[in-house]
């Protein structure tokens, strides 16, 4: 058993599952929006506003935002633990990797909070 406290769910199985489920959610959201945009060629601001004022769309957007943040955390964590290792960077690897992850997770938290503020301001 290899332990790691900076991974998203502290468990390989949970991270693996979350990454796949979140990918499906993001894909559904993209398909949904593509369909709306294709079916509404002359969309104006009022229609766009009404779309995001709908509680169903707000909840769907929020779920997608959370899924995106979780997906990005797991992905960036994987990239960091693949490439920012002692084998690649020497002794400073732990510091560099930790700093990289803190910045990534910080950006994701800001992104999440900012997204919630935007969604709830409509």
């Amino acid at each position: 058993m290899v332990t790691n406290v900076t991974s998203f769910g502290r468990s390989g199985l949970s991270d693996w599952l979350v990454q796949r489920v979140s990918a499906v959610v993001i894909l559904l959201y993209v398909i949904c929006h593509a369909a709306i945009i294709i079916n509404t060629p002359d969309m104006d601001y009022l229609q766009w506003h009404a779309l995001f004022a709908d509680p169903v769309m707000k909840i769907f957007s929020l779920i997608t935002l959370v899924a995106l943040c979780a997906h990005a955390w797991i992905g960036m964590w994987t990239v960091a633990t693949d490439y920012l290792t002692t084998r690649m960077l020497g002794e400073k690897a732990t510091f560099v990797r930790f700093l990289f992850l803190v910045i990534c997770i910080g950006v994701l938290v800001v992104y999440l909070l900012w997204g919630i503020m935007i969604l709830w301001s409509v």
């Binding site: 058993m1 290899v2 991974s7 468990s11 390989g12 199985l13 964590w77 633990t81 693949d82 084998r87």
Partner: protein
Amino acid sequence: MKVSVYRYNPETDLKPRMEDFDVTIPDGKDIMVLDVLALIKEQDDSVTYRRSCREGVCGSDGMNMNGVNGLACITHLSEVVKNDKLVLRPLPGLPVIRDLVVDMSAFYKQYERIKPYLQNDDPVPAIERLQSPEDRAKLDGLYECILCACCSTNCPSFWWNPDKFVGPAGLLQAYRFLADSRDTHTEERLADLEDPFSVFRCRGIMNCVAVCPKGLNPTRAIGHIRSMLMERGT
């Protein structure tokens, strides 16, 4: 034919280099890469490589031939030679001891970690632990691994984290014991593999399947382990 061989002797060389040899291949014969190495050794007996059974059973002569991992003893020249040139390098990702000989410690350590032996807490029967032909058939495609390390050293996940990711060879054997009806330590074995590195570093690129000289499928075994972990954890 021109054969370029990776040369490195830590006692005399500061860094590795490639050395070219002109080898005369017997007319009309499609000899093995190991035979070519024997011809090279006649020219320069300091060229170092591992070999033993010369028939693809011992797994000693795993190496990188024109960019593809495989066993030199069962690889015909016609399978790997392009433009009448052959480049021989040691297995990638492991420390080189000398020329084509690598230090397999990291590979064996991961193999040891998955406890590659039957563990059974039930009372020992008078004669032997019986297994039905159907249960025995589940081990086909798993037990045949000869631990040549061609798969693990072709896996980027193993290159990046050889100390944490078990690697395709180790995971094939992990599943060999998870699938064995005579082993009762399934729960402990799965608990040891659930972390983010041991199994889940596999990204399913199937490099292992592409190079296995025995035609085995570690990616499928890893999929089975994931399924078992899913059943256990959800």
